[in-house]
Symmetry: C2
Subunit: 172 residues, 2 copies
DNA sequence: ACACGAACTGTTATAATATGACAAGCACCT
DNA sequence: AGGTGCTTGTCATATTATAACAGTTCGTGT
């Protein structure tokens, strides 16, 4: 990358999602971070995996596996479903992307590097998705899990509703 | 039903799920409640819908749509996917059942009648599911939504981990 | 440099999950 | 009886996902 990536990242707890970004720099930064992380961990950030992450970052929305497959094929990679699913599995498994269960779709992680419990806000009108941080173990769910003796390893937290833009349109 | 449904319902916030129940009475109570609710709301609690709810209650676990379809077919109903999906859509839409997004499966509601934001604990070893109450709008997610101007209409909260039983086995 | 094992890629084939569309039936209203 | 809308059953198809295997590449030990 040509400059240190510092778009307007003043608020680290920002939802990061229903606003516009400096895409070019955030893509470059995220790729660089993924590369560094893989180097540290001995993971292989192969061309198809890198391309898949680039595609997710560039689209900046939740992509179905077959949309990813189309994009990868256009980029010269294999054209069968496992190509996409395997790249996505790698990205999700290493925290570079998340699966949105509600949409059966995948999106680049907005807070890469940080160990986190992501939460998503999904607009039912335009399907845009924003990532936020959840603290699921702290609320009622955490209490219920402790009471039941359930050991939480991972959480899926997805809110469905209207994003600001679509909400404004609906008012009209 | 033959008696007022009061198994050991002392703790309304109970996880209700990794313990044994009086199935016969809880099934009868839930069916009666659904029937009453439909009567009040002018909904048609038709044979296939009733049967589908009975099946979910009897199995007391998350069932895939095709498992439901098999069970409905055995009960003499139609044998094509829309039969199951439509019955499930009715049950979910009216709060008698929930979809577990993580499993692409459906489970009877453990707190029927109450307007609630369900949360689920899913055991990754035995696929058992317990329902708890979440208060997603109150935690970090709610704060992020307010900050972003996102209007939450519905939430999916699913925790994956080990249930007490499987956790004990793992220790051995 | 070379052999080895592990991981990765691409492929074929198939499984599992889900929906669109249409005709026939039934419930309710007039 | 006739009309309206919801429900059911069916056929057909779309969408999402995985199993299995052969060939290749990568890193390692020699």
């Amino acid at each position: 990358m040509t400059s240190t990536s510092r778009p307007e990242d003043e608020h680290p707890t920002d939802p990061v999602g229903f606003e516009s970004h400096d895409h070019a720099s955030c893509i470059a930064a995220a790729i660089a971070e993924a590369e560094a992380h893989c180097a540290r961990e001995g993971l292989r950030f192969t061309p198809v995996r890198r391309k898949a992450l680039e595609i997710l970052l560039r689209e900046h929305r939740a992509l179905g596996a077959y949309e990813m497959l189309d994009a990868l094929r256009e980029a010269g990679f294999g054209s069968q479903p496992p190509v996409a699913y395997r790249a996505l599995e790698f990205l999700v498994g290493n925290g570079f992307a998340h699966k949105i269960e509600r949409l059966n779709a995948f999106i680049a992680c907005a807070h890469p590097g940080a160990h986190h419990s992501p939460a998503f806000m999904i607009c039912r009108a335009c399907d845009s998705v924003a990532e936020a941080q959840a603290t699921p173990a702290r609320g009622a769910l955490g209490a219920a899990a402790r009471a039941a003796g359930f050991q939480i390893e991972r959480t899926v937290v997805e809110a469905e509703g209207l994003c600001p833009t679509c909400s404004d349109k609906a008012d009209t």
